[in-house]
């Protein structure tokens, strides 16, 4: 089982490695996996006007896990939050030619995307009532 070219490329030239500030309102953070499993992915998105303008990742895991999360950040940039929900692990498997034994890496990447989107949406929901209160009290 030799490594696929695309997986190697993402390893050597990972896209968007890094971190945003978790506390920022326009940032959504998803952390999935566990060290005992050998797979932890942290995926973050920066959103402006419902569009994902930037994405970053950090991954503890094998080459396929790194490539899956790196690819995810590439795909997320420029998509709306709604469009991003539609990214499926099977798309990742196809793009990277992942063998059956590595499919779970793509599943974890999809989980990370959903977790980041969910985190951002939760923050967006929590922001709304405050604005209404201020308007009501003034």
């Amino acid at each position: 089982m030799a490594y696929s070219e695309k997986v190697i490329d993402h390893y050597n030239n990972p896209r968007n490695v890094g971190s945003f500030k978790k506390e920022d309102d326009d940032v959504g953070t998803g952390i999935v996996g566990a060290p005992e499993c050998g797979d932890v992915m942290k995926l973050q998105i920066k959103v402006e006007n419902d569009t994902i303008v930037d994405a970053k990742f950090k991954t503890f895991g094998c080459g396929s896990a790194i490539a899956s999360s790196s690819l995810a950040t590439e795909w997320l940039k420029g998509k709306s939050v709604g469009e991003a929900q539609k990214i499926k692990n099977t798309d990742i498997v196809e793009e990277l030619n992942l063998p059956p034994v590595k499919i779970h890496c793509s599943v974890l990447a999809e989980d990370a995307i959903k977790a980041a989107l969910g985190d951002y949406q939760k923050k967006a929901e929590e922001k709304k009532p405050k604005v209404e209160e201020v308007a009501a009290s003034s």
């Binding site: 060290p35 950090k58 503890f60 080459g63």
Partner: protein, 404 residues
Amino acid sequence: MKLPIYLDNNSTTPCDPRVVDVMLPYFTEKFGNSASRNHTFGWEAEEGVEHARKQIAHIIGADAKEIIFTSGATESNNLALQGIVAMYREKGDHIITTATEHRAVIDTAKYLEKKGVSVTFLPVDKEGRVSAEDVRNAITDKTILISVMMANNEIGTINPIAEIGKVAKEKGIIFHCDATQGVGKIPVNVQEMGIDLMSFSAHKIYGPKGIGALYVRRKAPRVRLEPMIYGGGHERGMRSGTLPVALIVGFGKAAELCEQEMVTESVRMAKMRDRLQEGIMGAMDEVYLNGHPTERLPGNLNISFAYVEGEALLMGVKEIALSSGSACTSATLEPSYVLRALGVGSDLAHSSIRFGLGRFNTDEEIEYTIDRMLKAVTHLREMSPLYEMAKEGIDLKSVQWAAH
């Protein structure tokens, strides 16, 4: 210095060219069946086999009559365990072995458990050694076999075999030792160590794959075992089948070379391994040695690199052949059971790399490896959320992970 570099000699070794040289005539010229009693082709083949038998017996302090040829150490381990149980079943049905044995012993023991044999898998200490005291305490009046490996294939730790041999002798129990990683690398003597059965193979000592041996003691005590393979009664009835003469001749030469070169080679190997260890561990934080620091094979090194996963690391140094205890590199997607037996956490087991130095490695290759490992670990730690969290002072053990 040529790429790729081979640093996985615990997995297998290249044939020494001198071994290949002695094998070649046996393929096309001296190709007879060593069991053919009636013509020169057979006699020549038999001579080649018997000469090899002597060379192999010599390196372990045994008599040539005590060497049985098999297809490899896996078969030898199977034959030792299954053969003893079948032969001595009326005397008892309990075997003592360890948690860090090679799968050839563990899986065979588990099979025997299904057949009603009770098996004690002794734990090891955090450096991977089993204690002779634990062996003694596990013995019952139903025990018929003790099986403990000489040196572990993953972490290189060497067990106190002579002490265990003494206990076995004192209690009158047959002692089998899987010495696959020990023979040819460290001094082995079945008399001095009190070993009654011993498995080893050629392809770990610069010989060909497909041939191994089982040492079966003939005196004090005379060990008997039931064969697994029938059909002609070869190898004193213990293992039927036409002998692969060319492979055996190669095995013999490999053993002889190891015996001649062991002292100088092990010194050179240990020096390169120590340089590799110091070069890597001296330059990085949070790297941990797995296994015993001194009671270990001269060419073996096993290190966990915290916050970085093993398979990704191997991919980062793909021009160097190594192996890892990570789940991602195993067929069963489980992390190394040997590292788990040491008490190493799963996360560090996933982060482990095994370096297996050998006869043909050079100082230049070691320096190159140190440099590449440093670069790869640094690259991966930059990408690692765990390294980031650790640097922020977060205690990873206290985090609630959303595992799926």
